[in-house]
C-alpha cells in the first residue's frame, strides 16, 4: 500500500514536470518560429554584392566605348544602373541591416561622391560632336577616377558575404533547434500519455484490490454471522427438548403442589420457575424463527382472510399475557369486511408480536388501542400504546435484529430483541408494509398494511372459505 502510494507520487511529479517541460517547449517553439519568420522577412543581403558587379560592367562599357565598340548611350545606362545600386543600399531596410552587421558603408558615400563629380563627364560622352580621340581620353579619365575602389569594394563584398553566411548559419541553426523542439515536444506528449496510462493502471489495480478486500470482508462478515446463527440455532434446538420436559414437569408439579400444599413460598418459587421457563422457551423459539426466516425456510400460504377476525383472534390470544400486566386492549373495527389474500397464521404472529410489545411498554391499568380500517386499497391495522416511545434516531433501527429499547423499565420482562426483526421479515414475506411513528415519552404507534382483495370478488367467491376460516 505504502509502495504504491510512493510510485503514484513519483509518477504524479513526473507528470507535472512533463507538463511544465511541454509548456516551456511550446514557448521556445513560438520564439524559434518568430526568429525564422523574421529571417524570412529580411531583405536579402546579396543585393549588396550587385554593386561591385555593376561597377565592373560600367568599367567594361567605358573601355568598349573608348575603343568605339559600343555607343556612348550604353555607358549612361550602366552608369545609372550602377548608381541605382548605390541608392538601393541607402534606402529602406538595407542600410539599417548593414549598420547592425557593422559593415562599413563609407565606400558607398565615397562612390556616390565620385559619381556626382563624374556625372557631367559621362553625359558629355554622348555628345555627337565629340571626336573619337577626345572620347577615348575622356573615358580614360573617368576610368582612372573609378580606380582605387577595387579594394574597399572587395572588403565590402567580403563583409557582406560573411554576414550573409552567418545569417544563413543562424537560420539553419534556428530550423535545427526548431526541429529539435518539435521532437522533444512529441516525446513529451508521448511520455505524458504513457504516465497517464500508467497512473490509470495503478488506480485501476488499487480499485480492484480494494474491491476484492471489501468483498472478502463482506463474505467473512456474512459467514461469521451465519456461523453465529447456526450455532444459536443448534444450541436452541438442543435447549428446547430438555426445556419442554422441564416446563411439562413444572406444570405437573405445580398442579400437584397446589392440591397438597398451602405453603405460599413454595408456590411462588414454582411460579417464578415456570414463568422464567416460559420466557426461555419464547427466546429459544424467537431464535429458531429468526434463523428460519434468514435461511428462507419460512413458507406462506395465501388464502382470503377476514382481517377483522384475525385481529380479534390475536387480541384474544394476547389477552392472558396483557391481563398479567394489568393492560387492556381496545379494538375499533369498521363495519365492512376487510378481506386480504394472505397467510392467517403469519399475520396472527405479527399481530401477536406487536400487541404483546405494546402491552409490555404500557403501564399497568392503561389501555392499548387497536384500530382496523380501510386505507384506499389497503387494510391498515394500528396498535397504539402510551409507553415510553422511541426516539427519532432509534426508529430507524427498531426493526433490525437484537435491537432493544431498554424494556426493563416498564415491565421487568426482557425479550430476545428479535421480535420486531422477525415481524418485519414476516411482513416482507407477506408483501405488506410495516412502520412506526412515535414521540418519545408519549407512546408509539406501530402499523401494518396489507393489500385488500377487490370487493366484488370476496362477496361471491371467497365467502364460503371465509366461513370455514371463521369456523376455525
Amino acid at each position: 500500500m505504502h509502495r504504491s502510494r510512493l510510485t503514484r507520487a513519483v509518477f504524479l511529479t513526473l507528470f507535472v514536470g512533463a507538463v511544465f517541460f511541454g509548456i516551456w517547449l511550446i514557448y521556445k517553439l513560438g520564439n524559434e518560429i518568430q526568429n525564422i519568420q523574421t529571417a524570412d522577412q529580411t531583405p536579402p543581403l546579396w543585393l549588396g554584392s550587385q554593386l561591385p558587379l555593376e561597377l565592373l560592367r560600367l568599367q567594361n562599357n567605358l573601355n568598349e566605348v573608348a575603343f568605339g565598340y559600343k555607343p556612348a548611350a550604353d555607358v549612361v545606362l550602366h552608369f545609372d544602373i550602377a548608381w541605382s545600386r548605390i541608392n538601393v543600399l541607402q534606402e529602406g531596410k538595407l542600410p539599417q541591416i548593414l549598420a547592425n552587421l557593422e559593415i562599413d558603408q563609407g565606400v558607398l558615400t565615397d562612390l556616390e561622391a565620385i559619381f556626382t563629380t563624374l556625372e557631367p563627364q559621362i553625359q558629355g560622352l554622348t555628345a555627337s560632336s565629340m571626336t573619337d580621340e577626345v572620347r577615348r581620353q575622356k573615358t580614360m579619365t573617368i576610368l582612372a577616377a573609378l580606380e582605387g575602389f577595387d579594394v574597399p569594394l572587395k572588403k565590402f563584398l567580403l563583409a557582406i558575404a560573411r554576414a550573409d553566411n552567418n545569417a544563413r548559419v543562424e537560420f539553419r541553426t534556428g530550423i535545427l533547434s526548431l526541429s529539435h523542439a518539435i521532437a522533444y515536444l512529441g516525446a513529451t506528449i508521448l511520455t505524458l500519455f504513457g504516465i497517464f496510462v500508467f497512473l490509470l493502471m495503478i488506480e485501476l489495480r488499487a480499485a480492484k484490490n480494494t474491491e476484492n478486500e471489501m468483498r472478502k470482508l463482506a463474505q467473512d462478515a456474512t459467514s461469521a454471522s451465519r456461523m453465529n446463527m447456526n450455532f444459536m440455532s443448534v444450541v436452541s434446538h438442543e435447549l428446547r427438548t430438555p426445556l419442554t420436559s422441564i416446563l411439562g414437569g413444572l406444570a405437573l408439579l405445580n398442579v400437584r403442589i397446589r392440591k397438597t400444599s398451602t405453603d405460599e413460598s413454595t408456590i411462588k418459587l414454582l411460579d417464578i420457575a415456570s414463568r422464567n421457563g416460559d420466557r426461555l422457551l419464547m427466546l429459544v423459539n424467537d431464535i429458531l424463527d429468526a434463523q428460519a426466516l434468514s435461511d428462507g425456510r419460512v413458507s406462506t400460504e395465501r388464502n382470503p382472510v377476514n382481517l377483522n377476525e384475525i385481529v380479534a383472534t390475536a387480541v384474544e390470544n394476547c389477552n392472558v399475557y396483557a391481563e398479567q400486566l394489568g393492560v387492556a386492549y381496545c379494538v375499533t373495527t369498521e363495519n365492512e369486511k376487510l378481506v386480504a389474500l394472505t397467510d392467517s397464521a403469519r399475520v396472527t404472529q405479527v399481530l401477536f408480536n406487536l400487541l404483546s410489545n405494546a402491552a409490555k411498554f404500557t403501564s399497568s391499568g392503561d389501555v392499548v388501542k387497536v384500530n382496523v380500517r380501510r386505507n384506499k386499497q389497503m387494510a391498515r391495522i394500528e396498535i397504539i400504546d402510551k409507553g415510553i416511545g422511541i426516539s427519532a434516531e432509534q426508529q430507524d433501527n427498531v426493526f433490525s435484529p437484537f435491537h432493544q429499547i431498554n424494556p426493563g423499565i416498564s415491565s421487568g420482562i426482557k425479550s430476545s430483541g428479535l421480535g420486531l426483526s422477525i415481524t418485519k421479515q414476516l411482513m416482507d414475506l407477506l408483501g405488506g408494509e410495516i412502520g412506526v411513528s412515535s414521540n418519545e415519552g408519549e407512546g408509539s404507534m406501530f402499523w401494518i398494511e396489507l393489500d385488500l382483495v377487490p370487493a366484488e370478488h370476496d362477496s361471491r367467491k371467497f365467502s364460503p372459505v371465509l366461513l370455514i376460516s371463521g369456523s376455525n
Partner: protein, 157 residues
C-alpha cells in the same frame, strides 16, 4: 507637284521620326511565345491605372505607386494564369514569377512613385509592386525577390 513634294517630305520625315520615336520610347516588351507586345511609358500611363499604397523593404515610408496592373498587361496577350513568367531587368537580372500572382493580387507595373516618373537611378522606369501592406502573406522574402525594378521585359516560359 507641290503636293507630291509635300507628301514625299512627309513620308521622309515620318520615316525619320517614327523609328527613333519608337526606339527611344519602348520600355517594356511582353512575350507569350509567338505573340509579343511592346509598351512605351506613355502607353503604360494611358492604360487603366491601379494605385497601390504600400511599404516594402526598399522604401523608407508608405509610398504611393501607380501603373497598369500586371493582369491587364498579361491579358493583352492572353497569358494563362498557370503560366510562369520570367521578368528581366535592365541589368539582365531575371526573376521567375508565377502568373497566378497577378490574378490573385493587384500586382502593378508601377511607373509613377508618389506621382512622379522613376528614373533608372531610382529603380525606374518600371518597378513591379506587390500590395504588401494589404496582404500580410506577401511580406516574405520570396515576394521580395519578385519586386523586380528596372523592368525591361516579361516573357512566358
Amino acid at each position: 507637284m507641290d503636293i507630291q513634294r509635300i507628301m514625299r517630305a512627309a513620308l521622309a520625315s515620318s520615316l525619320f521620326v517614327l523609328p527613333t520615336f519608337g526606339f527611344a520610347q519602348a520600355i517594356l516588351t511582353v512575350t507569350n511565345f509567338e505573340t509579343s507586345a511592346t509598351y512605351t511609358l506613355e502607353e503604360l500611363l494611358a492604360m487603366p491605372q491601379t494605385t497601390v499604397v504600400t511599404k516594402n523593404d526598399f522604401v523608407e515610408d508608405l509610398t504611393t505607386f501607380q501603373g497598369p496592373s500586371l493582369r491587364s498587361v498579361l491579358n493583352d496577350i492572353d497569358v494563362d494564369r498557370t503560366a510562369n513568367l520570367k521578368m528581366v531587368a535592365l541589368n539582365d537580372y531575371a526573376s521567375k514569377v508565377p502568373a497566378s500572382d497577378a490574378f490573385t493580387y493587384d500586382v502593378i507595373l508601377a511607373v509613377l512613385r508618389d506621382g512622379e516618373v522613376m528614373s533608372v537611378r531610382d529603380k525606374g522606369p518600371i518597378w513591379v509592386i506587390y500590395p504588401m501592406d494589404d496582404n500580410s502573406e506577401l511580406q516574405r522574402e520570396i515576394f521580395n525577390s519578385r519586386l523586380v525594378w528596372q523592368l525591361k521585359s516579361i516573357s512566358v516560359e
